[in-house]
Every structure is written in structure tokens, then in C-alpha cells.
């Protein structure tokens, strides 16, 4: 008998591990000019694995509803399998980065002096610089604490927050009916629940993905994966911040990690189950993608800008406006002829729509009306 937690581990390895690996193979292959830092590509991939899973599931449940759960699992898995297979030539590049990251670093060597756990590198606890040793220990304590909190909460703390419960209920509803439709009132006749959420479906669909997957193993009530998203993207926020500030100075990067971690609201954000760390990371990523797209004129950076701007829009309504601001900033500051600016901006907008922006168009035209709905009391 497979335990519910083991099913979660399987799902996590598949979605956040294998699917993210397929995305990273793709990113490494198309980044021929190597304009994106390898570590940033890994972080992007780790973020996109789960997101693209939710996006594929969205299109499948919307356009091909009512199929058996296994069909959805197989189609999504097949997509990533094909994506990985088509880009397998970059496996060595990805593997080299992972190997470099995951090997045990000897801190006594001068070149490893400034290496920390937040670099995603395993380290030996010794450095001739005692202050850096303290940071080393601090980074280990912080990372271990977050890991412990993450796992302890996953196992021991059920979903209790109001919003999170609503997402989880909607996730189960999608899985139960295997259908996404655009209706004026999202009313669940079986329970009389009414889903009032106005945001894109990416986050609840991660819960749907878990329910569909867990059903294969007879675990219909699993919600470990949906709960894990909070901490997972919390980690990615830390790694991203650390990575960029470490380029300036290690002290600055360590201090920033500590300050971010101990800011009360952020501590709550990465420990209590919610959508926030997921959407906040995607906003960070879309800002980084904006910088890449303006700095390096190539299609990969444009596509990434569209993907991340679209991702944060599909996760949360606020992201729709951020994506508009991002496109505006792109048009204003991208150095090219006006004609090319417009063509590229249209390309980015099209990708944003494809990445989930279309949900809002559908919701306005055929569904709840989104933020334009006229709230009627009958």
C-alpha cells in the first residue's frame, strides 16, 4: 500500500524535477549566445515546470474536458517527455551545471571561500575567514529551518486559511468534473459552495493536477503538493535574490537573505499556505526577463519575457496589470525601429495571452465578467 506522502513525493519529483529538467534542456539549447546566467536558467526552469503543468492542464480541461484522469496525466507527461527529447542535445550543459552545483565543495580551497548553501552548493563547514564562517553557518541554519518548516508543515498542518481553502475546493471541483467552463456563477451544486475568486486558474490547477495524479493511487484527498507550492517558490525567491546580490558582494547577499527572511510579512508568506510566494516569484522573474529582453536582442529573451509576464497574470489578477506595465516599459525602452518594437511587443503580448492571459478574455466575455462584472443581487 503506497502512502499518501509517497504519492506526493512521486508527483513532486515528476513535476518539479523531471518536467523542470525538460524545460531546462530547452532553455539551455536555445540560449546559444549564453546570455542568461546558467544558475538563473536553472531557477527559471524550476519555476516553469509546475507552471507549465498547470497551463497544459488548463487547456486540456477547457478544450478536451471529461476524459479519464490518466489521459490528462499521460498527455502532460508526454508533452514534457517530447520537450526533453527534442532538446536532449543540451543535456551535457545542464548536467555540467548541476554537477558543479551539487558537488561537495571544499571550503578550505581559496576559490571556494565565498561559496554558500544558498548557491545550491553543498559545503564543508570551514573557511579561514571567520566572519564568512558565521554567514556560512547562518545560511545553513536558515536553509535548514525553511526546509524543516516546509516539510513539518506539509505533514502536520492542514490547509486552514480562507483563500487557500477556496483554491483547494475549486481544485477538487475541476478534478471531479474534469472540466473548465466559463459561467456567470461558479456554483458547486454538490456542496452549495460558490467560488468567488477572480484570478487565473494556475494555482488551483496545481491542486487539480495533484488530485488527478493521486487518484491513480487511490489517494483522492491528497493536498500535499498544493501545500508545497508556498515553500517551494519561497525558496526560489531566496535563491534569486541571493544569486543577483552575490554578484555585487557576498555580505550584501547574505544580509539581504536574512533581512528578507526575518521580515514578518514575508516569513508568513513563505510558511503559511497561500498563492503569494508563487505569484511574487513570477513577478520577480518577469522583471528579470524584462531586463534580459531589453539588454539582449534575441527571440529567447522575448519569449521568456512573454512566458513570465503571462505566468504571473495567469496566477493572479494583479499580474494582468503588471504584464501591461511590462509591455509598456518594453515598448518605451527597447532600442529598435518603431516597426520592430511593435512587432516584438505584439509577439510578447501573444505569448502572454497563450500563457493564460486568454483566461481573462474568456472570463470577461463568457464568464463572471472578472473585474468588470456588475454585481447583481437578485
Amino acid at each position: 500500500m503506497i502512502s499518501a506522502f509517497f504519492v506526493f513525493v512521486l508527483l513532486f519529483v515528476l513535476t518539479n524535477g523531471a518536467f523542470s529538467l525538460a524545460v531546462s534542456l530547452c532553455l539551455f539549447r536555445f540560449d546559444k549566445e549564453k546570455v542568461i546566467a546558467p544558475f538563473q536558467k536553472i531557477i527559471f526552469s524550476l519555476a516553469l515546470g509546475p507552471f507549465l503543468t498547470s497551463l497544459l492542464l488548463y487547456y486540456l480541461l477547457w478544450l478536451v474536458p471529461g476524459l479519464a484522469p490518466i489521459t490528462y496525466i499521460l498527455v502532460v507527461t508526454l508533452f514534457f517527455l517530447v520537450l526533453g527529447a527534442l532538446n536532449i542535445e543540451s543535456f551535457n550543459d545542464v548536467f555540467a551545471v548541476l554537477k558543479q552545483r551539487l558537488k561537495f565543495i571544499d571550503k578550505t580551497k581559496e576559490e571556494n571561500k565565498n561559496t554558500f548553501l544558498l548557491d545550491l552548493k553543498f559545503i564543508k563547514l570551514y573557511s579561514s575567514d571567520y566572519t564568512l564562517n558565521y554567514f556560512n553557518i547562518l545560511s545553513i541554519v536558515v536553509v535548514i529551518y525553511i526546509c524543516w518548516q516546509w516539510i513539518w508543515r506539509l505533514i502536520g498542518i492542514p490547509i486552514i486559511g480562507h483563500d487557500m481553502l477556496e483554491y483547494a475546493i475549486q481544485a477538487r471541483y475541476f478534478a471531479q468534473h474534469r472540466l473548465i467552463e466559463y459561467v456567470e456563477n461558479r456554483y458547486h451544486p454538490e456542496t452549495e459552495f460558490f467560488y468567488v475568486g477572480l484570478h487565473g486558474f494556475s494555482f488551483p490547477l496545481l491542486g487539480t493536477w495533484e488530485v488527478l495524479f493521486s487518484e491513480l493511487f487511490g489517494k483522492t484527498e491528497n493536498d500535499y503538493y498544493l501545500k508545497s507550492i508556498t515553500g517551494y517558490y519561497g525558496f526560489l525567491i531566496f535563491f534569486t535574490q541571493f544569486f543577483w546580490l552575490k554578484r555585487v558582494n557576498i555580505w550584501l547577499a547574505m544580509a539581504a537573505s536574512v533581512i528578507l527572511f526575518f521580515t514578518y510579512g514575508f516569513f508568513i508568506t513563505i510558511t503559511e499556505y497561500h498563492i503569494d510566494s508563487y505569484r511574487i516569484f513570477m513577478i520577480m522573474a518577469s522583471f528579470i526577463a524584462l531586463a534580459y529582453a531589453i539588454n539582449y536582442h534575441n527571440y529567447l529573451t522575448l519569449v521568456l519575457l512573454g512566458v513570465f509576464a503571462g505566468a504571473q497574470a495567469f496566477i493572479h489578477s494583479f499580474g494582468v496589470f503588471v504584464s501591461v506595465f511590462i509591455v509598456m516599459a518594453f515598448i518605451l525602452f527597447y532600442k529598435n525601429t518603431m516597426q520592430k518594437k511593435i512587432i516584438y511587443a505584439l509577439l510578447v503580448t501573444a505569448i502572454i495571452m497563450l500563457m493564460g492571459g486568454i483566461h481573462y478574455v474568456m472570463d470577461v466575455l463568457f464568464g463572471t465578467g472578472w473585474i468588470f462584472q456588475e454585481i447583481k443581487y437578485y
Partner: protein, 350 residues
Amino acid sequence: MSNKVKLYLYIFLSLVFICVVYFFQTQVDETVTDVNLIHRRIETPIKFWMNGYLGHFFNFKYLGSINWLLIPLALFAFLKLKYFNQEWKKAIALAYILSLFLISVKGFFNARYQLTLLPITLSALLYFLWLYLEHQDLHTFKKFVLILIVGLVFSNDVFGLLFLRESSQSILQQDRQGLVERIVNYIDSIPAKIAYYENKSRTPAYPVIDFIRKDLPADAHFLVNNLPMLYYYSNKKGIYYWCGDDTYYSENGRSRIMENRSIDEMMLFIKDTLKCDYLLSTPSYNKYDPKFEEFTKAYCKPVFLDLGEFAVYKITREKGNYSIEPMAKVLSKRLSKGVPPFYVTPDDVE
């Protein structure tokens, strides 16, 4: 004035400024009774601006006490260093400012929205601070300044824990103790807190759900006051409602319960039209509308209360003078001693 003296002066002025903000943050307007505003700590005009519109910089409780430093530091980077001289920097600055503006205008009511840009704000302000120290030739002060900021963040957490509580109840009860009293009370409560958490780990997450599953009829039908856990953790049905907006939801959309109805008519409507026998709510939620609270006191007999403040009420046709206070007192005693079970039924009171 040397750069070193200037730095000390800026640090001193910053600390004074933080103290001034704390002063305004701790002010309580005893005439305001709107729980929603008090809970969000935006009940006075100045707090409405600080924790609402300008919350990203001045909502110290949730976002820390240093975010406002981004304003002078970014201005320094812009004016002195000509930092924003590249297109990608201008693009990010524009997207950031527009996002921040939108958060201020539309997200002022919810601290969660103000958090949206926090990692970017913190990274930017620390980076600009670093540039400032380098520009002023204050290299030897870098570690000192960073440690000082880490210290500010820690002390802000402690200050927030002691003085910037969002507990609407404690504020409504005019809980305005002095510094020493608060610290002593907090320390006194630690053993009970430890006992509580030790026992809580052995208590079901939702005793109220256990009660609903096991002790109520299979066909019990609820009026659910903004507590979606019923739908997730039980197979019971219930009309989803929020008294704060007086809105309930059905397949037709939204409708009202309290509008144009007396509390007697509300009872008849809830019992006969909506067919609800039970109310799932919390005493705090009931307070979000005085009329709804009045209705609960008149027609809702409390039958269960747990440590999460989750309560089940039996909706009766007989008007009474129902109160959950006696049950709350028993529960409070159990919690203060750390002795389970952390739920109470009317039998425990009698």
C-alpha cells in the same frame, strides 16, 4: 562635514524617523469600532495612509521598518550616480513604479498585496545603499551598516509582536498597557503558550469539523459565515455567506439576507427559505455586522466552540438571549492551563 559624520547623521535621523512612525503606528482611536479597519490597522486617517496607501513603505508590522529607505537611496542613485542611464534599468524602474502605484491605489486594504514587490524593494534598497557607501568612500562601514539594518529588522519584529498587534479584540477592549506591563504579560504567558502548542499538536486541526461530522445529523444544513473549511473537510452542504457584506451565494448569484428584514424575518428566511438548521461562524466574524450579531444572540444557540474560535450554533425559532461567553470562558481556562480538550460544548458549561 566629512562623509563619516554625514553617515552617522543619516543613521541618527533614520532612527528618529522610525521612532516617529512607531509613535503614529501605536495610536489607537477609541471611538472607531469598525472591526475590519481595526484588524487591518487602518482605522485612523494617518494609519490609513501609512498602513494603507503607503503601506509598502510604512506598514512596519508586515513589511519591516526599512523599506522607506528606498526613496532617498533611489533618489541618490538617480541624481548623484546617474544610475538609471541604461534602457533596461529605466524599464524596470518604470514597471516597478507603475506596479507600486497600482498596489497603493487598489491594494491598500490588504497587506498581502503590499508584499508583492518586497523582494525587489529590499534588494534594490540594499544595493543602492551599497552604492552609496562605495561612492562616499565608506568601505569600512559596509558591514557595520548591514548589521545595523539586520538589527533594525529583528527589533521591528519584536516591536511588532508587542505593540503592533492586529488583534481586533484586544484593541476593542482598550488593551493599552504600558511597555513594562506588556513585556511582563508576554513573558508570563509563555509557559501556557508552550503547553498549548504541545497539546495542540495532538489535537485535530479542526475539532469543529470532527464535531460536525460525528455529532450532527447527516442532513444538517448550514449557513456558512465565510468558513469554507466545511466544504473541504466535510460532506455537509451549506449556503455560503459573509455577514460583513451581507451576501449569500447560490446558483443564481448573489443575494442579501439582512437587507429589508428584521432579525425575526431573518430567522424565518434562513429557516424556511434557505432551509438552514445550523450556523458555522466565529464570534469575531459575527461582530462584522451589528445586526447579524444581534440575530445570533437572539436565534442562534451555541452548541460548540473550539480553540480556533470556530463555533457551531443551532438556529432556533424561539427567540432567546443566547451567549457564547460562558463557553468561551471555559475554553479560555483550558487554554491558559494548557489542558485539553480545546473545545467546549454546552455540557461543559453546565
